[in-house]
């Protein structure tokens, strides 16, 4: 610092470290350290209020692999993810295409309205949908009865309860995702659409052969982000059916199981192992995505 003036223009560069120091400190202490310590913890029998914490090697992991509740949670996490991600993406894409029409009236109004669910807390979403999907007096069953559909147990049934949870997730995220896809569509060069139109392509053909390929990066990005978010699904099932995720764990998820083991059963070491398992799954899926997109990109590059 004393030779700041002498250093002249390059003084800039030395200050760089200082500017990132606050972030770096906070991040090391409360971001990185907890993650590294979680890895450490996973090899211990560790309970919150006990002093007898001891090293157990891979025991937490081998127990986890034999734990039927863990596998139920794995299955549920993935089925809830697919039940939410697929309809969410299709509807959001449809909304984005519609919103991208330059002649649309009240464009800002529609966009703004669609973002309202996203500012609503997961807790509030969980509360209102728990009531709507309620077994007896839930609005949804009443409405279904009214139009002659059979009564559905939205809480007890595995598939219906997971559909209810997927609905909460979808309601909160569809508008947000639509805006992301809209931004990506608006960034597509107009010439592409125009030349396709001149060639006589229909709107549907333009969507399939022009828009979708141009959205490839955005779609991959959303898939990765969606998977990470999906693997962390936790609060919706907690509100809907408590820490076990329903009486017969019909909608227990991985992160909910982590929460249950850590903060209900006090088994921090075991919960840490669940956390590691979640992370490994995230890494594997991101890797598959990465390979997949590289392959598609490579094939297109060959043309």
């Amino acid at each position: 610092m004393p030779n700041r003036k002498a250093a002249g223009i390059h003084a800039h560069d030395k200050w760089g470290f200082l500017y990132i120091t606050p972030f770096f400190t906070i991040f090391l202490l409360f971001g990185l350290l907890p993650i590294l310590f979680t890895v450490y913890l996973a090899f211990f029998h560790w309970e919150l209020l006990s002093d007898s914490n001891y090293y157990v090697g891979f025991q937490n992991f081998s127990e986890l692999l034999k734990d039927p509740y863990f596998w139920i949670a794995v299955r549920n996490t993935f089925s809830i993810f697919f039940l939410s991600f697929i309809p969410q993406t299709l509807i959001a894409l449809a909304l984005a295409v519609v919103l991208a029409n330059p002649h649309l009236k009240f464009a800002t109004f529609w966009r703004t309205m669609l973002l309202i669910p996203w500012i609503t807390s997961v807790l509030a979403v969980g509360i209102v949908f728990s009531q709507l999907f309620g077994r007896e007096f839930g609005m949804i069953n009443v409405a279904m009865q009214y139009i002659g559909l059979p009564h559905v147990d939205w809480v007890g049934g595995t598939v219906p309860s997971q559909m209810a949870i997927a609905t909460m997730i979808n309601w909160r995220w569809i508008g947000y995702n639509a805006l992301i896809y809209l931004a990506a569509i608006l960034a597509i060069p107009k010439e592409l659409n125009e030349s396709a139109e001149i060639d006589g392509a229909s709107k549907w053909q333009i969507f399939i052969y022009v828009t979708i390929p141009q959205l490839r990066n955005t779609l991959t990005f959303m898939l990765v982000v969606g998977t990470i978010g999906g693997l962390q699904t936790f609060l919706e099932p907690l509100i809907y059916g408590g820490a076990t995720g329903g009486d017969s764990r019909q909608f227990s998820t991985l992160t909910l199981y982590l929460f249950e083991q850590a903060f209900i059963n006090g088994r921090f070491g075991y919960a840490a192992a669940i956390g590691i398992a979640i992370t490994i799954i995230v890494i594997i899926i991101s890797f598959i995505n990465f390979i997949g997109t590289r392959k598609i990109a490579g094939e297109e590059g060959k043309k």
Binding site: A11, F30, S121, L123, A183, I228
Partner: protein
């Protein structure tokens, strides 16, 4: 002659309108879906439980909202919750903006050793599930820092995040031309003054959106606050609302009244900043 006219007419009409009525129906349906659960919160909150349980249930607001509201204030110290949440949210938002902009400025416009690997490091940690660290974060607060039931446990880890730094870096990288910085440097302006009077005014809109994002996130955060906050006067809004989930009976009207009151402040805020949030979300898409 007539045939020609018939063929031409619909085409002309199509060109003039271009947006089919079906589009508006579609958008209206989704707007309705977006609002309905919030409307429903108010309907249940303003009716008696019997009114909602009868078949067919009441689908319009009733007259009992103030009664439920009084019950809410009797059940939890809701004003404290509001005050706590706003205070924590504002502090975190301001600090996020300031420290993220600082770090983002350094990462976008300065040259120093290890910058590239630092960026890669930030981005890869953003990919990790954030709840992974929650067990140890809780241990740190409970066993080492003694911050249980202390707002520091919520505020300090959130002072600046990888997301914020990445957001500001992208903004500064694209919105501040290097020439301006070079010129200011040649004039001998100190770095912090360059940051304050040249960089910050330009990135203000984007910084505002980042502040909003973190305020909303803090307002809605549940998991970690529920672990570290114990005493009712320290509750944030979300934690207070969760207490209404009675251990005895499910008083839906009361719970929904709480959920409505927890959302109402954000809806009011949204009236003023909704447009900017929309463009913030859309800018974010292009940034990523």
């Amino acid at each position: 002659m007539t045939q020609l006219l018939v063929e031409e007419l619909p085409q002309r009409a199509k060109k003039r309108r271009k947006v089919s009525p079906f589009t508006y129906v579609f958008l209206s349906i989704f707007t309705f879906i977006s609002i309905f659960p919030l409307y429903w919160l108010f309907v249940v909150a303003s009716n008696s439980n019997e009114e909602i349980a009868k078949i067919p249930p009441s689908v319009v607001p009733g007259s009992r909202f103030l009664v439920q509201l009084r019950a809410l204030y009797e059940a939890v110290p809701f004003n404290w919750a509001l005050f706590n949440t706003i205070a924590i949210g504002v502090v975190i938002a301001l600090s996020q903006v300031f420290f993220s902009a600082l770090a983002g400025f350094a990462l976008a416009k300065m040259k120093f050793k290890g910058k590239k690997s630092f960026m890669i490091f930030i981005i890869s940690t953003m990919m990790l599930p954030s709840q992974l660290g929650v067990i140890v974060l809780y241990l740190i607060m409970a066993n080492y820092l003694n911050w249980v039931d202390d707002f520091k446990a919520l505020v300090v880890p959130a002072l600046v995040t990888a997301f914020g730094v990445f957001w500001m870096r992208q903004t500064i990288d694209t919105q501040i031309p290097n020439e301006i910085l070079e010129a200011a440097k040649l004039d001998g302006a100190p770095i912090f003054r360059i940051f304050r009077s040249i960089v910050f005014p330009v990135i203000k809109p984007s910084a505002f959106v980042l502040g909003l994002f973190s305020f909303l996130y803090t307002w809605n955060d549940y998991l970690f606050p529920s672990l570290v906050l114990n005493s009712p006067k320290r509750f944030t809004v979300q934690i207070a609302i969760r207490q209404l989930n009675g251990s005895y009976t499910q008083d839906y009207a009361l719970i929904m009244c709480g959920a409505f009151m927890a959302t109402l402040p954000l809806l009011i805020l949204f009236v003023f900043v909704g447009k900017r949030l929309v463009s913030g979300v859309m800018d974010g898409a292009v940034k990523g």
